[in-house]
């Protein structure tokens, strides 16, 4: 039973949320944070708990508006201080499809093609339909920014960072080989992506209600980074440094979601790139409390409830773990509670609700 969710009386405070994460303020209850919530989880909450009509975003303006209205209500009523929205600029890429194995999901899961990229040669690079900034649709960001409830903030980003898009366009295998066989092409593609994303962020940073830039760029796997730190320093990290600098110029924080074991580049991310917070933690790599012990005096720690745990534990176990994270990481400060990655389709709705309900208990 949900006892504490602020369904009828939310009191968001985006300014306080940012102040807590930046270490400018403390509060007894760590704020909630989430990176993404899948529609499969959001839909039953929106319909059954909030009593609204679910509308799929079919790509036309009317359904898009209705979808965004539900999204605003969801983040507001669940107790978040912000809404996080990301949209891809429109980089065509190869995708593989398979039935989603999550219980209750009727969707097809899209998988990156790790072997066949769209850009393999200079000719591919020249003929690739690069998006142009004047054609990028910023409507969803503007719509949410205009309609946010009082005291809520907008957290936004491009969907996918330079590394993710680089390995999408060239495929991960193609990228790995090109790093040695065609490094100039890798440089050209990463620079083009970085330049386009810079323009994207310049536009986003004009939004009135924006309180942070928070992109995702998965650079690691279980034991280390996918490519060497030297390659990341050459092709990827300078772009994140640029995005962070732009964000800081506006007086806002730059949080980074990046999956995998990034220990080998954490000093780069903190001291060189200038991230203000790190998101995405897996217990098999490093539990969030251990990460916080190492880096929590320099940056904020966001989320951290292990996804495998969140998907397989009972609601009561989730409540206990939530309480434990609040008592440990929350007590340390510069911490927001949420999942270790996102809320994908396979997280049981009851477990998600147990986490946010328990987090709203104080």
């Amino acid at each position: 039973m949900m006892r504490k969710l602020p369904l009828s009386d939310p009191q968001p405070d985006a300014e306080q949320f940012i102040d807590v994460l930046m270490g400018r303020a403390t509060q007894k209850q760590p704020p909630l944070v989430e990176f993404l919530v899948d529609d499969v989880v959001m839909k039953p909450i929106v319909t059954e708990m909030l009593g609204r009509t679910w509308v799929d975003n079919l790509g036309d303006r009317e359904t898009e508006k209705a979808y965004l209205d539900n999204m605003i209500e969801f983040w507001y009523r669940m107790g978040y201080d912000f809404i996080r929205l990301e949209r891809d600029m429109g980089f065509p890429k190869n995708r593989l499809l398979a039935a989603d194995t999550a219980p209750g999901s009727e969707k097809m899961r899209r998988w990156a093609d790790q072997h066949q990229g769209i850009i393999n040669t200079w000719e591919d690079f020249e003929t690739y339909p690069w998006p142009e900034i004047q054609n990028v649709d910023f409507f969803p960001f503007e719509y949410i920014s205009d309609r946010l409830p009082e005291e809520m903030g907008l957290i936004a980003s491009n969907g996918g960072g330079v590394f993710e898009r680089l390995s999408d366009l060239m495929s991960l295998e193609g990228l790995c080989l090109a790093l040695y066989e065609n490094p100039d092409l890798v440089k050209a593609v990463s620079d083009k992506l970085g330049e386009l994303m810079t323009k994207f962020y310049e536009h986003l940073l004009d939004l009135d209600r924006l309180v942070a830039i928070f992109p995702g760029d998965d650079m690691g796997f279980k034991t280390t980074t996918l490519v060497s730190p030297a390659h990341l320093r050459e092709y990827i990290l300078p772009w994140h440094k640029g995005f962070a600098a732009l964000t800081h110029q506006r007086g806002l924080p730059y949080f980074l979601h990046s999956c995998g074991n990034l220990e080998i580049i954490m000093e780069d991310l903190i001291a060189e790139v200038g991230i203000d917070g790190k998101h995405s933690f897996e217990d098999v790599i490093i539990p969030v409390d251990e990460f916080q012990t190492r880096y929590g005096d320099r940056i904020a720690c966001l989320g951290g409830m292990d996804i495998h745990f969140l998907s397989t534990a009972s609601p009561e176990q989730v409540r206990r773990q939530t309480r434990w994270l609040m008592d440990t990481c929350g007590a340390h400060g510069r911490y927001a509670i949420g999942s270790g990655n996102s809320i994908p389709s396979y997280i049981p709705v009851d477990n998600y609700l147990a986490m946010v309900d328990e987090a709203c208990s104080i």
Binding site: A98, C176, L177, F221, K222, T225, L226, V227, S228
Partner: protein
């Protein structure tokens, strides 16, 4: 170590497939035994790549180009190995479980196992349990290596082991597992014989299981 074998070793380490191919021909024509070329030049080089990977001195791209160089060298050597009836360490079947389409990790495991002296059959992605059963039924397989990326798809590892049990094949083959959400604890829980966190350690694990 002779200069030609050293060249093969060094070229595999730096992923220079052209030099590997060139020196394979030289080594064969110079009368080196097949096992010397294989063990001291190629497998030793891939062992070194694995060790460097484990200590963070090389990464996926470096492992990939080394494995590719090794594979091209092996293509030249294979007909000679077959003719001379040189035995591999054993046969390993690898595959990504049903519902899962990511396979870079599984492919690296396959390449490193081959580089470690195993014969490898790669069943690809989205492999149903029945396919593993079919292959183990039909052939002398020593080890099955199963990979999964997601918490939801890794449940099919257990389904694969259950299918092997159901068909009376479980005792015939060792099962090793790996992938982003997989842990040693999970491997034990589902009755696998072993877990490896990366491609290099999968080779060590496979070798230990077939002793």
């Amino acid at each position: 170590m002779d200069e030609v074998i050293e060249e093969i070793f060094a070229a595999i380490l730096r992923g220079d497939r052209n030099v590997v191919v060139e020196h394979m021909e030289v080594a064969l024509n110079s009368g080196f035994s097949l096992t010397t070329i294989l063990n001291e030049g190629m497998i030793a080089a891939m062992n070194e790549v694995g060790q460097r990977f484990e200590v963070g001195e090389c990464f996926v791209p470096e492992m990939m180009i080394s494995a590719r160089a090794m594979k091209e060298g092996l293509e030249i050597l294979k007909p000679h190995l077959v003719q001379a009836n040189v035995q591999t360490l054993g046969k390993v079947v690898v595959g990504t479980v049903r519902g899962d389409l990511h396979d870079i990790g599984k492919n690296l495991v396959g390449m490193m196992l081959e580089g470690g002296g195993f014969e490898v059959l790669d069943l690809g992605i989205n492999v149903p349990p029945e396919k593993f059963v079919e292959v183990v039924s039909a052939d002398a397989v020593d080890v099955i290596g199963i990979s999964a990326l997601l918490t939801t798809t890794m449940q099919n590892m257990q389904a694969t082991i259950a299918a092997l049990e159901e068909h009376g094949l479980r005792a015939k083959v060792k099962v090793i597992v790996g992938g982003a959400p997989v842990t040693e604890e999970y491997a034990q829980q589902i009755g696998a014989d072993g877990y490896a966190p990366d491609a290099s350690r999968a080779v060590t694990l496979a070798k230990s299981l077939i002793k």
